[in-house]
Symmetry: C2
Subunit: 158 residues, 2 copies
DNA sequence: TATTGTTATACTCTATAACTATA
DNA sequence: TATAGTTATAGAGTATAACAATA
């Protein structure tokens, strides 16, 4: 228990005060934490979280409208346009303007896009199912459950 | 149940697939949600979440070293420098370089900084204690508890 | 040599508003 | 008139690396 050890454990007690009970503050920290882990584990796979989530949702909802996608992912319209254009440039996503309503854009994955997601989805789910250090599996599942409630997501079908 | 209503409820069912169980994804959405609420409620009070959290932690830990503060808030050193300089320019924070170790910077709130925090802390805690729509108070507290665990925060004294 | 903070640079993300085309 | 998407612009946030001062 020498000075070096004390320093390395970064054992400086910091009183967070009112922030300890702030959902917003805690979620911000938690997200930074989980993203740090994410990049450490998945960085080499060339999947940025935002873009990859777009690809996953399109793969699960072929033909989804760009605006619906943006709403669900809480991405602004101006931003989703740039993301989708970028993914289109990479040959991962196809845009289609239907005759019924020529204002909207319907999105699907290309063959290449499907392959891209298929190659990486297992790595992601393995990462996501890992139980965070210091938590039990039950607590981890409970956390997911409460986040669903917080977000107003209906529970999964069985 | 006409077309207008359906559209307004944005009831487009989107299958989130593997993302439903992704802590990272859920936390990202949750944080966007809570920040949206935050700005809606506290925007007029001139408190950006990042800067205000810095002020609160300094107020609770007078003389805290800049690096310790950055670690606890998961802010990069280069970034905390800019933030603290900005807060100093606003007259809210004072920097002090102690003789014992002239590499470090110790932070305190100025009189103005203390007043700034004191004027706003009640609005923040009121906001933070609100129970999110669709959740019970117990669930909200449980969520906070699980986030503490996830972040490795020791439980509050009593 | 290692640590703390600073500076400079660039890149990502996001916000806003004006614009188009379609309905 | 309202909606979906686009474009342009600016700003905030963040990452990186090189640097100076101090230990």
């Amino acid at each position: 228990m020498d000075a070096t050890l004390v320093r390395e454990t970064a054992g400086d007690h910091v009183d967070l005060g009112e922030l300890r009970d702030s959902l917003g503050f805690l979620m911000r920290l938690a997200q930074l934490q989980v993203f740090e882990n994410y990049f450490a584990a998945l960085g080499p796979y060339d999947m940025r979280p935002g873009e990859f989530s777009v690809l996953v949702v399109i793969s699960r909802n072929p033909g989804i409208r760009q605006g619906v996608l943006a709403n669900r992912l809480m991405i602004k319209r101006a931003h989703i346009t740039k993301m989708v254009r970028g993914l289109e440039d990479q040959g991962l996503v196809a845009r289609r303007i239907p005759d019924e309503d020529r204002r909207v854009v319907e999105l699907t994955l290309t063959k290449k896009g499907n392959a891209f997601v298929a190659e990486r989805i297992d790595v992601l789910t393995t990462f996501d199912r890992a139980v965070p250090e210091g938590m039990t599996r039950k607590e981890r599942d409970q956390l997911v459950h409460l986040l669903h409630k917080f977000l107003g997501l209906t529970e999964a079908s069985a």
